[in-house]
């Protein structure tokens, strides 16, 4: 009685695993905003095709091997009065054939892999939009050298256009990852790495640093906003404008505070300050999120951030400047007026 129950447990487990797998598809698990299995670029699709090829093969091999194991366990379990089994030492033909079989399956994986390796690392076409990405502890800077635009933690791209990313890191190793658009590429100090891809369609895609880079590695996120071509041009035009002067008295007070405090040592606001340690804030009010895509860009969040940056992002290099009471609110009003 006990034996038959025991022999059923593995089957039940297998069924459970299959059920989980199916239901996970059913619950549209793969639709996460950071999914890697719904690619939104040619790069992503090439990668995904190989992934699916290998997945189906390995799934098949997995089922055969696990099935054989289960079958053997059920079929050859000890029976009362059974004699000692024949002492089989091996079978050369079997050994040779399954060695060859494994080698052939791996060739099936290797043959489509190699061209994709070369294709995804080919030199970018001259017409590409160039974006210089710099990964820092713990935020991202995006420079468009040809458009003379600098943003932080928010990457704007035109749909359908090839983008050549040049990746570099002033401090430690990071990794640039936009899961829906394509694979990650490490950002290594002392060298410039490249990734080239063209996003398919407008949309918003979260990105994140994928290489452990110290205390707030988890908080080194960013947001990719893919525009249609015309929207992108509009965005570019807006970013190239000098920032507007605040009209609201609270924001004006904030502007005064900003230019008198240590803020100017680290942050750039075109026409106001020229610091380079922290994110460029020229058009800060136009951004949807703050703190490396940690929270929505609202006056409340921003004021809390200024009061105590380390509380929201542990280890952050921006110090607590002792802004209290009205001061953070004024600064927030000013920064959010910079559309």
């Amino acid at each position: 009685m006990r034996k038959s129950l025991l022999s059923r447990i593995p089957t039940a487990l297998l069924l459970l695993a299959v059920a989980l797998l199916l239901s996970s598809c059913g619950w549209s698990l793969w639709d996460s905003p950071m999914t890697t299995v719904r690619p939104k670029s040619g790069f992503g699709r090439m990668t995904h095709e190989i992934f699916m090829l290998i997945s189906w093969w390995t799934l098949g091999i997995g089922i055969v091997v696990e099935g054989a194991l289960l079958w053997v366990c059920v079929h050859f379990r000890e029976k009362p009065g059974q004699p000692i089994p024949k002492q089989v030492h091996g079978h050369t033909l079997l050994e040779v054939s399954w060695t060859i079989a494994f080698a052939v399956v791996l060739l099936i994986f290797a043959i489509p892999t190699i061209p994709v390796i070369f294709e995804t690392q080919a030199a970018p076409p001259a017409t590409s939009l160039r974006v210089d990405v710099s990964g820092r502890q713990w935020w991202w800077e995006f420079k468009y050298p040809d458009l003379k635009i600098v943003t932080a933690n928010e990457l704007h791209l035109p749909a359908g256009q090839t983008v050549a990313f040049n990746l570099h890191a002033p401090d430690v190793i990071h990794s640039f990852w936009m899961p829906q658009l394509g694979g990650k590429r490490d950002v290594v100090p002392g060298r410039v790495n490249r990734i080239t891809l063209a996003p398919d369609e407008p949309g918003e895609y979260p990105g994140q640093c994928a290489e452990y880079c110290g205390m707030s590695h988890a908080n080194m996120r960013f947001r990719v906003i893919v525009h249609s071509k015309t929207d992108f041009e509009k965005w570019v035009a807006g970013q190239q404008e000098p920032p507007v002067q605040p009209t609201d008295p609270l924001a004006q007070k904030g502007q005064e505070l900003f230019s008198q405090s240590a803020c100017v040592g680290c942050h750039t606001i075109a026409g106001v300050s020229g610091g380079v340690l922290g994110p460029n804030l020229t058009h800060f009010g136009s951004r949807k999120s703050m703190g490396a895509n940690l929270m929505a860009n609202t006056p409340g969040n921003l004021a809390r951030w200024i009061e105590n940056p380390g509380h929201m992002k542990p280890g952050v290099l921006m110090p607590d400047l002792g802004m209290r009471g009205e001061q953070p609110k004024a600064l927030a009003a000013y920064l959010l007026s910079l559309k």
Partner: protein, 623 residues
Amino acid sequence: MATHAAYMTGTKKLTAGSVLWSWITTVDHKRIGQLYGVSAFFFFLVGGIEAVIMRLQLAHPDGTLVGAQRFNELFTMHGTTMVFLAIMPLGAAFFNYMIPLLIGARDVAFPRLNALSYWVFFSGALLLHLSFLVGAVPDGGWFGYANLTSAQFSPSHGIDFWMLGLQVLGISSLMAGFNFIVTIINMRAPGMTLMRMPLFVWMSFVVQFLVVLAFPAITVALILLMFDRLFGTLFFAPAGGADPLLWQHLFWIFGHPEVYILILPAMGIVSEVLPTFSRKPLFGAPVVIYSGIMIGFLGFGVWSHHMFSVGMGPVADAAFSISTMLIAVPTGVKILNWIGTLWGGRIYFASALYFSLGFIAMFTLGGLSGVMHASPPVDLQQTDSYFIVAHFHYVLFGGSIFGLFSGVYYWWPKIFGKLLDERLGKLHFWLMMIGFNVTFFPMHFLGLVGMPRRIYTYAPDLGWNFWNLIATIGALVIVLSFLVFIWNVITTTRSGAPAPADPWDGRTLEWTIPSPPPVYNFATVPVVHDRDDFWAQKYGDGHGTPPRKPVITPAADPASIHMPPPSYWPILLAGAFFVMMSGVLVSIYQVIVGGFLTLYCMVRFMLEYHHQTDVGPPAGGHH
């Protein structure tokens, strides 16, 4: 334990002090094996607690159980502890205890060196964990990537503890590696040719070569890092024109063979357990041996598959992709040979076999997901995501840990003379199997939907919440399974059935001697005629040769068997070395004093038996 009397023949009365003294001065491979086993299990629990805290933190988004810093320390120490202080020493426990028994020897080649390996291991573990007392815990990851671990970006002493502790542990592993290579080559019983050697010994043999060839690479890396941190050199500093990727190459040319250092002992155990419980010889044993050697050899040629995303260029990516896929061939062959062993057998389902079957089932899944990221384009999406976390836990937990537990259940009666309770053993297995899969299978999904590794928190709107919660529940089931194991050990130690010499109808030499073995192992050194020699003695070789009753030679008078006497120089030398290494964190004077102490102890260690020219070198002690 009941075994003390056997160890203490001809010595003074048993007191707590004398028992402790006998353990810290022991040079008996079996007791050193037990010391390794107990230490490994202790650190296994430490690493497990670290893992559970991390899982609790990640059970839901925006977790607040531990902060960013604490979480980074937890995953650093979890990885370091599990690799260097749990799985490796658990393997070492079996090397120490079982290899001499399996090859018909009375001890290892260098018993005092063996004791020194253990005590140096112990001081390395101590050094690493002193960091908790000081409050500067390593936080650079078990892989310690430069230049994050440089003094500029990691100014606290945490990384110092890590880099010094690892250097000490590496020295211990090197000493043990050479010791076992010499033991396996020189100490085999008459008639035990290399091809008659049990599979566990073979896989261990390959592991020792991996250890002595791989550890120097990380030692070099750690020394360069030490120079960078302590003396301001620029080996890994981009500002000085250096490339931090140098660290990654050095680390992974150690780190990838290390994976096989962790898995091959388990493969060896499984290759012993399956034949015993299916009552058939290992199917295609020479092929399993050759593929083990092949895995070890290829293991050195695949390190850069850990670096497909660093920008090595397409040629290097393609080359390492192919070499990585190649390694799947001998691995797959082994799995089919294990199934071939069970095929047509008369399978007796004991706990030990359950864990071996679990090993095959789970290691297969880990191997298959490994093939996926052997393809660099696919790897670019999977590396540093939870998909990888799932993959290597299927290999190291589903593989190594299940395999090592199989060995624990298999050899426990031989080592402790008591049978573990089979019902509790099977309960342990099923809880661990279910808990393991519930914890780690969802991580494949999490990785595919973009959850990166080594993050202490995540946003609630990314679709990761459900599977993270499930994984945490699975981790708690794993905890439950270990409680069952601990309960099993406690109750059966108190009141378990005494184990006969040969409880499983075994096939190899260790089952020919009493459980637990006497201090001299074999009263008469066996003569070997077959791969499964004990089985052939009992049942014939299955091909017409009748059972060969062992020639009963009168057991030698135990008093006449000369075994190496205890020595306190191993622990003193390790202690002096600890003083020197920890001095790096305290004061240059401590380093100098510790250095002289180490030199003094080394000389005394070497000269310990120098004056006894008339009795010959007792370290050999086996004839």
